[in-house]
């Protein structure tokens, strides 16, 4: 059987060879020997060319007709501009009827005020008020123009030099609003493709700046240096091109959302090891930390040149409004043309700039304010150490004292309701004004909510005892029920 198949195969092969050696195959065209296999190849090429010239089948594209677009537009129903209004949205904050100093008037009653970030007690200071009044009489209220178009008044330039001299840096730049400082500085220096490592507890202004800068943002665990080090290690190891792109670490000196203090000496050590630049937001630590109030760098004994960019809002310790940014000459000059909150916005009202100059002068002349503030914070810590159901969660030196629930109810929303009940009762029954955390839905921070007390150097011992007693009483009633 096999041999029959073999015979047939050999016969077929012989037959094929004969055909290929047929007379046609012995023709010579243009000096090229035409062998039989050339015929097969030519046929193959012809078939390929034929297939290529055929049009491929594409389903026909039909654009929408005018009538169809009209129908779609008719059918479309937009969502309302605002979601349905709930009860908590209708809540109004208490209205003050006098200056927001350590004692203020709400609803005709005098209350002890722990809700204003008036850390040095400079609200209502005579010297500052006098300089404001002379400024108002000379310059009016507003500055009527951006810095580039006759909105630069000589008090602005004086204020910038004064702050730079106080901080020990070459130059500084003034912004007209505290929160716009940080979200204009970050996009001015960080562009698409840069790497930013930020703490997860930074406030909304920083988050907005990070989003607008379009850089790659990596968050590390709140105030955790080990997490920061591992993040930096991971980023520099994986990325070989890391040498060519700009890298930043963004931290706050005293975190608004938790009252913790960033360990600057650790951060500077890591920054120098991995070659990153540091952007530090000192809104709540300027005029508070350090022997003369110069901020976090003085407190840790770090030379100020090691921190590349320092920003701060002046609406806290300096009892005025606006913000500033300071650093090397290159850093400050670059912002004068590329920082959007500086170029495209009207400048700070001149009376607020002169208030800032007087406040800095007063602070330099009276460093006892800082010791007074620190002793007030210590006293408050002692008094709050035995509140039932609430624990202190901030750093012992932070003027924002943060009280957290010892046992959370499980969700932020119900925690907040409970805390609001406490703050309302404390205000109504004991005339002490304290506040709970308010978070916007746009805020990405996930730190726990709590009650905040802003301590001021203007508070007296009786005020502090009053708030401790009141909290003790109300917390016992509300939380153990």
């Amino acid at each position: 059987m096999a041999s029959a198949v073999m015979n047939m195969t050999t016969a077929a092969l012989d037959w094929v060879t004969v055909i290929f050696d047929a007379p046609l195959a012995r023709a010579v065209v243009f000096g090229v020997h035409i062998d039989g296999h050339l015929v097969v190849e030519v046929l193959l090429v012809a078939v390929i060319l034929f297939q290529l010239t055929r049009k491929s089948y594409k389903p026909p594209k039909k654009p929408l007709t005018e009538k169809e677009i009209d129908d779609l537009c008719e059918e479309w129903v937009p969502e309302p501009l605002h979601p349905p209004i709930t009860e908590e949205m209708k809540a109004e904050p208490p209205i003050l009827e006098s200056a927001a100093g350590p004692h203020t008037v709400i609803d005709g009653k005098e209350v002890v005020n722990f809700a204003s970030a008036n850390y040095l007690g400079l609200l209502g200071n005579e010297k500052i008020a006098d300089s404001c009044i002379s400024s108002l009489e000379k310059y009016g209220v507003g500055s009527c123009g951006p810095r580039g178009f006759y909105g630069t008044i000589d008090v602005h330039l004086d204020c910038e030099t004064r702050i730079a001299k106080f901080m020990g840096t070459p130059d500084s730049i003034l912004y007209s609003y505290g929160i716009s400082t940080i979200f204009s500085v970050i996009p001015a220096f960080c562009k698409k493709g840069d790497i930013i490592v930020a703490d997860e507890g930074v406030h909304w202004g920083v988050q907005n700046g990070l989003y607008l800068s379009r850089s790659t943002v990596v968050y590390f665990k709140h105030n955790d240096m080990a997490s920061l080090e591992s993040t930096l290690e991971k980023l520099t190891r994986e990325n070989k091109r890391a040498e060519k792109i700009r890298r930043y670490i963004v931290v706050e000196a005293i975190y608004q959302n938790s009252g913790q203090i960033a360990p600057l000496n650790e951060i500077v050590r890591l920054k120098e090891k991995y070659r990153f630049r540091v952007i530090l937001d000192e809104s709540h630590s300027f005029g508070v930390l350090g022997n003369s109030g110069r901020g976090l760098a003085e407190y840790y004994g770090v030379p100020i040149e090691k921190i590349d960019i320092i920003t701060a809002g002046m609406g806290n310790a300096l009892a005025t409004d606006g913000g500033f940014c300071t650093g090397s000459v290159r850093v400050v000059d670059h912002q004068r043309l590329s920082s959007s909150g500086y170029v495209f916005s009207a400048s700070l009202p001149p009376y607020l700039a002169s208030a800032a100059i007087s406040a800095v002068n007063y602070l330099e002349d009276n460093p006892s304010l800082l010791t007074q503030l620190r002793s007030n914070i210590d006293l408050l810590w002692k008094g709050l150490s035995d509140i039932p159901g609430l624990a202190i969660a901030s750093h012992p030196l932070s003027p924002i004292v943060y009280l957290k629930l010892k046992k959370s109810t499980g969700s932020s929303k119900s925690d907040l309701e409970l805390l609001n009940v406490i703050t309302d009762r404390v205000l109504k029954e004991d005339s002490v004004f304290i506040v709970s955390t308010k978070r916007s839905v746009l805020d990405k921070c996930r730190l726990p909510v709590g009650i905040r007390l802003f301590v001021s150097a203007g508070h007296s011992e009786t005020d502090i005892h009053k708030v401790c007693d009141s909290l003790r009483r109300v917390a016992a009633l509300v939380l153990l029920v």
């Binding site: 937009p78 204003s116 310059y139 202004g205 609406g315």
Partner: protein, 489 residues
Amino acid sequence: MVRLPYLTALTTLFSYGLLFAFGQMRDFFRKLIDWSKSKGKDLKGYAPICLGLEDFYTRRLYLRIQDCFSRPIASAPDAWIDVVERYSNDHNKTLHRTSNTTKCLNLGSYNYLGFAAADEYCTPLVIESLKKYSASTCSVRVDGGTTNLHTELEELVARFVGKPAAILFGMGYVTNSAIIPALVGKGGLIISDSLNHNSIVNGARGSGASVRVFQHNSPSHLEEVLREQIAEGQPRTHRPWKKIIVIVEGIYSMEGELCNLPEIIAVCKKYKAYTYLDEAHSIGAVGKSGRGVCELLGVDTADVDIMMGTFTKSFGSCGGYIAASKEIIQYLKHTCPAHLYATSMSPPAVQQVISAIKVILGEDGSNRGAQKLASIRQNSNFFRSELQKMGFEVLGDNDSPVMPIMLYNPAKIPAFSRECLRRNVAVVTVAFPATPLLLARARICISASHTREDLMKGLDVISKVGDLVGIKYFPAEPPKHVEQDKKTL
């Protein structure tokens, strides 16, 4: 509309090309010198904080004419200001202040109704409120930053603008940047005018919604964009848009034009889009009683969903507001980050706005408000018509107090600015990047506190400098007319 003559376009492009070439050459030599010096930098391992090409424009073009911008003044930004003289020892790289000042006519500050300097009605009230509430509240609005001044002003602004409720912020820029993300998020669409202000662009970008641009002031193109977008839906998924917001401005500050509001509102209503009107320059400055473009163009305020404005320009203070329906304002007070995290507006500034609005409405017992409004309208129309008669190319509509004069060539920018300053007139010149590259201009802002003599002096100086610099692109009317006007005054 800007009509750019062909020859001017060519010469402008040539000038910029020359400047660019010189800049590149100097950069090249700078690189050579730096490399040959090879200093041991302690910035090893760090990328430079500003890469080479990013600040090319700043270093090589802007620094040459730096003395025309950011001129410091030593007085209130009123009709006449004291401009501080500056000198430079290193070809404009750094400028130093002197203590000499020159008194100049101010044609550059946003002082539309003349509230900039100390005012006889407003300033005593402001000083009183400073003594009572002090310069700041040091607190955010939801904590302890709301005083009864703030609530009073919110009601007053709502009444003035013609909406049910209003909310205040301490800075106009932050108003836009923080409100737009609260109103529309991912899955929404923002359609904004191509010449909108930087704060609106930042707010739109920060919201996470998709952004489309329509041609400046063109309701037909807006309709086209709306139809196309509603039919297509969200990109890639083609789901229908959650909501669409159209953002326009009342007066565009670089063109001086009024917005084409009635047609744009009609288009938006037809396609169920929400409208957001930014009246930064028009509130208080246009309209018979100062209520802005809605009054001027006869649009009902109930048709505009959200009206935004600032207090910096016409009221001589600082800050911004949003006016809308009660529910929207309640929602914003609960969500808007600028309300929850930013220091509240400074109480003396609030009092200034309250007093200024009372003066405009005539509630202070005098008719100064009506006088100011009539004065600014007359001044703007007079100035604009005179400039046009002289042969300048002036943009903007009638009744608008902002009038740009086209310069085009980059060399004419410092020439115009410095020559005017030499003759004691302070003007503002704007170039790239605030305007397109070829369309540099000088922008005049008229105020109600300019007297007729001030305007005549301004016109005189601008005419002389215009002849010197060569910006009278149109043929002037024969001088007989100008002399007749002078005789009748």
